[in-house]
Assembly symmetry: C2
Homo-oligomer: 313 residues x 2
Amino acid sequence: MTEQLQAAAAFLRTHDCFDILTHDYPDGDTLGSGYALCLVLQQMGKQARVITTSVPNDYDFLQKDVLMQDFDTQTVVSVDIADEKLLGSNRAAYEGRIDLCIDHHMTNKVQAGLKLVDGRAAANCEILYKLFRLMDIQWTRAVANCLYTGVSTDTGCFRYSNTTAETLRIAADIMDIGCDTVFINKVMFETKTKKKLALEREIYNTIEYALDGKCAVIAATLDIQRRVGVGDGELEGLSSIPRQIEGVLIGITMREKTPGEFKVSVRTNGNVKASDFCARFGGGGHSAAAGCTVRGTLEEARAQLIAAAADFV
Amino acid sequence: MTEQLQAAAAFLRTHDCFDILTHDYPDGDTLGSGYALCLVLQQMGKQARVITTSVPNDYDFLQKDVLMQDFDTQTVVSVDIADEKLLGSNRAAYEGRIDLCIDHHMTNKVQAGLKLVDGRAAANCEILYKLFRLMDIQWTRAVANCLYTGVSTDTGCFRYSNTTAETLRIAADIMDIGCDTVFINKVMFETKTKKKLALEREIYNTIEYALDGKCAVIAATLDIQRRVGVGDGELEGLSSIPRQIEGVLIGITMREKTPGEFKVSVRTNGNVKASDFCARFGGGGHSAAAGCTVRGTLEEARAQLIAAAADFV
């Protein structure tokens, strides 16, 4: 790992004009990684920018110290991207062009000149923390905030099973640097809009149990999204709901994107491999958290998912 | 602090036949503290038992390695108890008899021969961790599980503003000792019974906003408790709900104990002091989390609380 870190550090030092790619449906870890790296490169006197498909409002604070720079791309780095398919609308422009891939997904399939991948890291920001330590960067609160956001959001604020003692020590070090944990935790884990509450109430009504209660499925249909007045970006937090229910081994969250197309998030307990489950539908991810897309009416799509789930519990 | 820790360590070494008192409506920190101390004393060849008013099912695992011992009490230790009033039904038997008080509430008022109180500790179990380190105890998974339960539950799994870098490092050390964090996090933070979901749906319907949305009040009336089929012990988690709503500075949770008597939990944001608010009603606690009791019909009790809240936002 040290060798990989050193190679990545050398790469960053000797290159310039960076496009930093984040994954589609961006979360705290890909954005935290992207903006932290961008801030560090800019501090080093380099040109850098973060390429995203969108930035949800809650994450706006991550980019407030980032300088807007205009340059011709020379170097492409991907952060927290397991597969170039996850580039979304940026796929056409960047596929096959990644020079350095920094990621923490075991299943990483990105083709890149140089790879810094550690599947044991709970968050990609843990890898960046180690990289920055090795590079002996000038630490700032802004960088600390980005890293803390990534580490905390990818571990459900240290609640998920991916959290290690090292995760907690890295978070402690980041707090010591100076980091707005109270603000970040509040925004990420402690704040619900009235809309969100209304959404949860609606979602609770859609819960379906299958396979003797070992599988639970919730669905944020377009109808519900319209009624509550929420967009797709506001549905991220839902996927933890079905897995939380006592006795559930496979928790499935269906988000209707367009009529008849569902983006599916799968969260598992026990030994059920979410990535194997989602691979059945052409998706992938981590062993306890993965995703895929399923087509059909709500009933058809749900039936397909439950039928597949039967092989896993 | 080191001196206080040394005095407490010496006290424990030179005494025997311990009754360890926990507070009423016991939570993970008082029970984790109690059972951890009991296990350590028993390992040292001493007699010890934990005195509780009840142990919620979820916490049963904490006592599975504790030996049942029968002896005449010689020494009384209180853990996580800020005030002898909080002994509940054990108050009559133990008030004025506490020899050693170990606590992390700034507002601690316990009269005791020896006090080990650190208001900066996020959880009482942090203090016990330091005490055990200093005593150089033989660490076991059972003790680690008790301490992790206390530290994690009192910080909302490291989410609340009381969490410090030291909290995270202590938790990391406890994980290194060997600790069932996955099981504990799952039980404490990731599991909801179907009943709990039904309860939340009901509670969401009781939300009342006041003072331009700066105050939110929810109420678990006896009627709701009956309809959902939950007892008072199953209402603990509700108090985080109103504070989570965007813009709320004072989140109030009313639990109807008997007709016309409400146990009130107050959680605050920003600079609002929950302990000052609850002091108005004869209660107390921490600056962001406190409690009191209010009497009247639901409407009367709620009106009293909102009227008081107006002075704090």
